[in-house]
Amino acid sequence: MEQSLSNAFLILFVGMITVFVVLLLVVLTGKMLIKLVDNISYDKLEASPTIKFVPKLSEYEDREGIDRKKIAAIVASIDVITQGKGYITKVEKLS
């Protein structure tokens, strides 16, 4: 019983320390990550270097085969109409 009670207190201490350490690390690594990603040029990322001559089309995207600019236009119009509370999950081409 006494042994167990001291165990219970041990768990209290270890537990709270762990929680604090983990969330501290969450904060710290989060901040580091944000800084790190900032240093990577955003433009570099946009020009993703994937195999160029094959516009990557997983069978899923396949279906979508809709001009991205058009989608942007749609989204914009939806934003106007819904005042930003709506989004389109899918716009599909039909085969």
Binding site: S4, L5, N7, A8, F9, L10, I11, L12, V14, G15, M16, T18, V19, F20, V21, V22, L23, L24, L25, V26, V27, T29, G30, K31, L33, I34, K35, V37, D38, I40, Y42, L45, S58, Y60, E61, E64
Partner: protein, 401 residues
């Protein structure tokens, strides 16, 4: 005459007369249905749990979950043997719940529906999700002193994590015999967050503190870092976080790892949209139905109508209240040492119960100052509270199982 006899034997009327506790359980199921449907307390869970209670307690339906013992040997039965001997509800319970499968799957869905954006934009506040786990461990000690075994006490304490799947996962491993009341308590108090938080706040936060305006503080002490490429940060963050947590608290990996996997496939976007849909809808919705029904089906008169259930109800409430206080006082202490003040309500939301707690905190802040919107700040500690309680669960499991 023989016909009437046979008729009577077929019905459950005899059994109902013999075990009046059953009637009480049916009343409890009606109460839970009332709370879930009319009062809208977490209906997605309370309705199936309540219906599970109803189905399980109507005798003769063979829909009640029975505890595995050495004598009945359920643990070593094949699926078909369980189904044949004890019905489909036990089959579902012993393959989906008792194996610990559904809570991680639900965490995957929760991850797929969680946006770490508000937390990343106010990372500092995430720290207060830690203090709000104190209720878990305080109640562990209290429950142990009241006569619960350490394992049971841990399962009871985890109610203070204010997170349904975490509570269920921990109970399954530490004290499956208490699963029903713990799940009910956890989801009920989560639904009662709009009552519990204001109650605790009234006794612990001054009016002056409640008026601390986070946006104003931001302007007084501006942050240095701004996130230029939030999308990329959001993709890398769950990967790094999973690695980190897994190294520090391996026993929380089934929960936290799946949460972060779900979040990753959401953040990647179109390329993994099929996985996202599976995690956030197909698997999530199906798991919710089966979790609810089977957890409800564990609550029969014998296992539920006893003193322990009462202590769980009381202990669960204490765990909630102490956790909220923990978060609040952590902010108060911080404010003593820092010029940039934080509204203590941000600590209260460290409890988790996303996003209800944040909404409640926001409402309270607005009541005292109609321009003081703290929702997005509250969401930071609110989300980190989920990670906090999953980590706490990992510690409990690692020490007690």
């Amino acid at each position: 005459m023989e016909i009437l006899e046979k008729l009577y034997e077929m019905t459950a009327i005899g059994e109902l007369i013999n075990s009046p506790g059953t009637l009480l359980m049916i009343a409890i199921s009606f109460l839970l249905l009332y709370l879930g449907i009319y009062k809208k307390y977490e209906p997605l869970l309370l309705v199936p749990i309540a219906f599970g209670v109803l189905l399980a307690n109507l005798p003769g339906g063979n829909m009640n979950v029975i505890q595995a013992t050495a004598e009945n040997g359920i643990e070593h039965m094949t699926i078909l043997e369980i189904a044949k001997n004890h019905g489909i509800m036990n089959m579902l319970y012993y393959t989906l719940i008792k194996t610990g499968l559904l809570p991680p799957l639900i965490f995957m869905g929760v991850g797929a529906m969680t946006d770490f954006g508000p937390m990343l934009r106010n990372l500092r506040l995430a720290f207060f999700g830690a203090a709000a786990q104190i209720g878990i461990f305080s109640v562990l000690i209290s429950a142990f002193l009241l006569g619960f075994s350490l394992k049971q006490a841990g399962a009871l304490g985890i109610i203070g994590g204010a997170d349904g799947p975490t509570a269920i996962y921990t109970s399954i491993i530490l004290a499956p015999e208490l699963l029903g009341p713990i799940a009910i308590a956890a989801y009920s108090y989560m639904a009662l967050v709009p009552v519990i938080i204001p109650l605790v706040v009234r006794f612990t936060i001054t009016k002056k503190e409640l008026k601390i305006n986070m946006k104003q503080q931001e302007k007084l002490f501006p942050k240095k870092v701004k996130i230029k490429n939030l999308k990329l940060v959001k993709i890398i963050f769950p990967i790094v976080l999973a690695t980190l947590v897994a190294i520090l608290v391996p026993s929380s990996v089934p929960l936290v790892g799946m949460l972060l996997f779900g979040n990753l496939i959401k953040e990647i976007g179109n390329e993994t949209n099929r996985l996202f849909k599976a995690a956030s809808e197909t698997i999530m919705n199906t798991a919710t139905i089966f979790l609810g029904l089977t957890v409800g089906a564990t609550m029969t008169a014998i296992t539920f109508l006893n003193q322990e259930t009462l202590l769980i109800v009381v202990g669960g409430f204490l765990a909630f209240a102490i956790s909220i206080m923990g978060g609040i006082f952590a902010v108060k202490i911080y404010n003593v040492f820092s010029k940039k003040k934080i509204n203590p309500l941000i600590g209260a939301t460290g409890l988790s119960a996303v996003p209800m707690a944040s909404r409640v905190a926001n409402e309270i802040a607005l009541e005292h100052d109609p321009r003081n919107h703290i929702l997005q700040y509250a969401m930071s500690s609110n989300i980190s509270g989920v990670i906090g309680s999953a980590v706490a669960a990992g510690v409990l499991i690692s020490f007690l199982s």
